[in-house]
Assembly symmetry: C2
DNA sequence: ATCTACATTATAATAATTCTAAACTATTGA
DNA sequence: TCAATAGTTTAGAATTATTATAATGTAGAT
């Protein structure tokens, strides 16, 4: 979803009723300069602490999954223990900072096109995504 | 761990007491031709159904995590909802079959070396792994 | 054989997520 | 306008995966 867009219209187009909870969540998620990577927990915290709003946890889950189904959010597998979501729904690669647990998007120029030589009979490729795990390089440490 | 190895010795070397539960689990995990990718649930099922053994669920978790810490198993992030483990602990790429939820290892020749042009200040790269999601290509379907 | 540190186990606790069913509300159209 | 209705929110219960606890068992040392 584009930044500063008319969320009421966008929600309607997606067949989702523009309730105040959903509009608030759109603002949190999409009124940003950069891609937003988050866990449900992050999102709940932002809504309650930064926005001083109260949206039921069940609604946050429902809405995130509704947005995911409509293609406005994408789930990212980084950690088997919790779900990360991404407002950048295109196929793209990531850096994952193992110190801060932060995800950073790669753009086209950051990683050369991946060349897959193998193919699995009867199967087509749905996506090819690279995860680069990084951590502080402690060159100053012994 | 090599196939058909002396698991008692291997466990001792790792500083792990070779208990009967651990030896049994080594047999299930490492007496195989190919890399084994599994969830805890898969493993428990194999132990109880195929091996007709009873190992407490807590022990399965403890042992898998002990093996992981010693570098005999590696956790793979495919699905935020459950943990996959891999007996191939080297850095390698995967195909993931979205129909069967099966992981397949790539070998060196399957994917060309990944060229990363970006670097994050103060961070070093720990790993670069590619996940290729595949699904049945249904060319016969409408 | 005895000791002891470590391991196993059943069970309880926790955490993430989903379900349920009642209350609420956005939209429709009389 | 204003009910009717279908979709939505909500608190709380249920479920699932995982981890903690604490009692019991056992491998390895003496
Ligand atoms: Mn999900
Ligand atoms: Mn883990
Ligand atoms: Zn991203
Ligand atoms: Zn593998």
């Amino acid at each position: 979803m584009p930044k500063n867009c008319n969320f009421i219209e966008k929600l309607r187009e997606a067949g989702l009723r523009p309730t105040k909870q959903r509009i608030k969540m759109c603002e949190v998620l999409y009124n940003r300069e950069k891609t937003f990577h988050f866990t449900i927990n992050d999102l709940v915290k932002i809504i309650s602490e930064k926005m001083n709003e109260k949206i039921s946890l069940a609604t946050v889950y429902n809405t995130v999954h509704a947005f995911e189904k409509k293609g406005y959010l994408k789930e990212i597998s980084i950690d088997s223990h919790k779900s990360y979501f991404d407002t950048n729904t295109s196929a793209h690669h990531h850096f994952f900072d193992e110190d801060t647990h932060e995800l950073i998007d790669c753009d086209e120029s950051d990683i050369d096109k991946i060349n897959i030589r193998k193919n699995i009979k009867g199967k087509k490729i749905n996506s090819v995504e690279v995860l680069v795990r990084v951590a502080s390089d402690n060159q100053t440490q012994k």
